[in-house]
Amino acid sequence: MDDIGIFLQIIFWGLYAGCIYILLGTGLNLIFGVMKILNFAHGEFLMIGAYITATVFLFTGINPYIVILLSMLALMCIGAVVERLCFRPILGTGKLNEIFLSIGLIYIFQNGAAMIWGDSWQSIKSPYDGITIPVGSLSVPLDCIIIITLTAVILVALYIFLKKTRIGREMRATSQNRKGAMLIGIDVERIDVISFSLGCALAAAAGTLWVVSGQVFNPYMGSIPVVKAFAIIILGGLGSIPGAIIGGLLMGIAENGTAFFLGGVWKDAVSFIILIIVLVVRPTGLFGEKKG
């Protein structure tokens, strides 16, 4: 009975940790789908989102679950500027350039944040800290339930946006065939900006959830989650959003399982080991779209 309890606990914490990776991974996937770039600086948007949430919460005391809207909005603007000024001039000049550009962005965002907020580790306490709700044999913190619900709401909203609205349809068209989309009169550059901003907003939401869940953050924390998000979208298949969701859950569970059985040092390394195994064995991912 005790073993099953621990097992459930690991799965549950994995689910909860997975939420942040799912949001980050979905954002990356969205940007990759439309623009065919993978931004290594995506984790920095998570970091900025985390700091915005923490700052607003500490100064005004507004519930951080409401601040999520503000941080998403702020990151949408930052994302639009970054796309317009940095990525658009070099789009199509080679994949290596895009990697190097994101390195420049990493330098700017990490140290810019360090200039504003300092470089020490920080954390804040959620207003619902300590409240737990019994679910079956487990007692689950209220924050976990809110975080999982919030992630689900954001994903459903994204799904509806992509399926039902005009811009969403244009984004899917661009992602399927950029030239074809141009031919039927879609302004692909506008779609680029919108999808980049949306991806950034999802990263900001992930940042807010990171802070609210009581995890520590500093300006340099973004680079590890982003590579984990890469691992997830490769696990799930590039461009596949359901794949990113399942990949995120698997990653969260694997990470927490390893941390429990092998010790906390291995928490980061395990995601890269998974990434390498997936890349070597099945580069298209578990749910990868077949290339035509």
Binding site: G104, I108, V227, A269, L279
Partner: protein, 328 residues
């Protein structure tokens, strides 16, 4: 205009070697000498990264090879009592061996995927160093490393500088020779168009592995030199920051060129140390980030390309001054 910018290359090369050799005599400042030594090591590191990039593989985890070279060399020196002058090359061989293993993992991967795997690899190596291997590596605390030359020798820093200068020049000559040879041509072919290269009889897997081995070896040499120069090593060697520096140097100087890493390292080191005087801490990195992005957008071939760009601009300018009818 009698001045030809092609002459820059010849004069630049001769001038650079003379200045590098004479530098310690211009100033007997120990701080400056130390800085120059570290700069030479960065040049080796950046050149090693650039060699791998020449075969079309942009690594984001070169700190792994840098660190493996340093750790292996130190451990061999401590265990066997050999002088660091020999263990540098043995430690680098360990880095090259691991480099081939990583290369084998990456044979089918390109661009983003390669970048991610190498990035993750540096973190895996760091994790191994501080967990499983902690009893021999000293974990997070690191360990003392034998000095290249004992500090009791008079003028040991000066000798060290010249030793490292000779190694740096040797490394650059080796890289120049490799890039000029058939191997270099094969790298170029793979980088530009892999399918065509294959059709022309170039085996991409083989040359990718060669690039990984040589690049990891040279990065290992750089790591071992740095650690024997400083005399202490920590797992910080594997940090992301350390992986990104050579990339920044090469991009600024000029990707895929031999002079690029050298010029990039020198210019950026001067900027970096100059900014130190202004008292900025994080601001320096922000400025480096802006320099990197501006270089990628406005000077994609790096500073090496600058004289040519100025030359072209000069010629264009002359043409525009002509009457309209003569332009075409």
């Amino acid at each position: 205009m009698n001045f030809r910018y092609y002459d820059l290359k010849r004069f630049g090369l001769a001038g650079a070697i003379i200045i590098a050799a004479a530098m310690p005599f211009l100033s007997d400042n120990m701080f400056l000498l130390n800085l120059l030594t570290l700069m030479l090591i960065s040049i080796i590191f950046a050149s090693a990264w650039n060699l791998l990039a020449c075969s079309g593989q942009g690594s984001l985890g070169h700190a792994a090879f840098f660190g493996i070279g340093a750790y292996a060399s130190t451990l061999i020196a401590v265990q066997s009592g050999l002088t660091p002058f020999i263990t540098i090359f043995l430690g680098a061989a360990v880095a090259a061996f691991i480099g081939v293993l990583i290369g084998l993992t990456c044979v089918k991967l390109k661009e983003w995927f390669l970048a991610m795997v190498t990035f993750g690899f540096a973190i895996i190596v760091q994790t191994l160093t501080v967990s499983v291997l902690a009893p021999i590596t000293g974990g997070w605390d690191g360990m003392a490393s034998p000095r290249l030359l004992s500090p009791t020798i008079p003028g040991y820093q000066l000798i060290e500088y010249y030793v490292i200068l000779v190694i740096t020049i040797a490394v650059i000559i080796v890289i120049w020779y490799i890039l000029k040879s058939r191997i270099g041509l094969a790298f170029l072919a793979i980088r530009e168009n892999e399918i065509e290269a294959q059709a022309a009889g170039v085996d991409p897997v083989r040359y990718r592995l060669i690039a990984f081995a040589i690049s990891a070896y040279l990065a290992g040499v750089a790591g071992a030199l740095q650690i024997h120069h400083i005399g202490y090593l920590t797992p910080e060697l594997y940090s992301v920051d350390n992986s990104l520096w050579p990339i920044t140097y090469v991009i600024l100087g000029g990707l895929f060129t031999i002079a690029g890493p050298v010029i990039g390292t020198i210019v950026l080191t001067i900027i970096w140390e100059g900014l130190k005087a202004t008292g900025l801490t994080f601001g320096r990195y922000v400025i480096v980030g802006f320099i990197l992005i501006l270089t990628i957008i406005f000077l994609p071939k790096g500073l090496v390309n600058l004289p040519e760009r100025v030359h072209m601009w000069w010629k264009e300018r002359g043409r525009k001054e002509m009457p309209d009818g003569l332009q075409q």
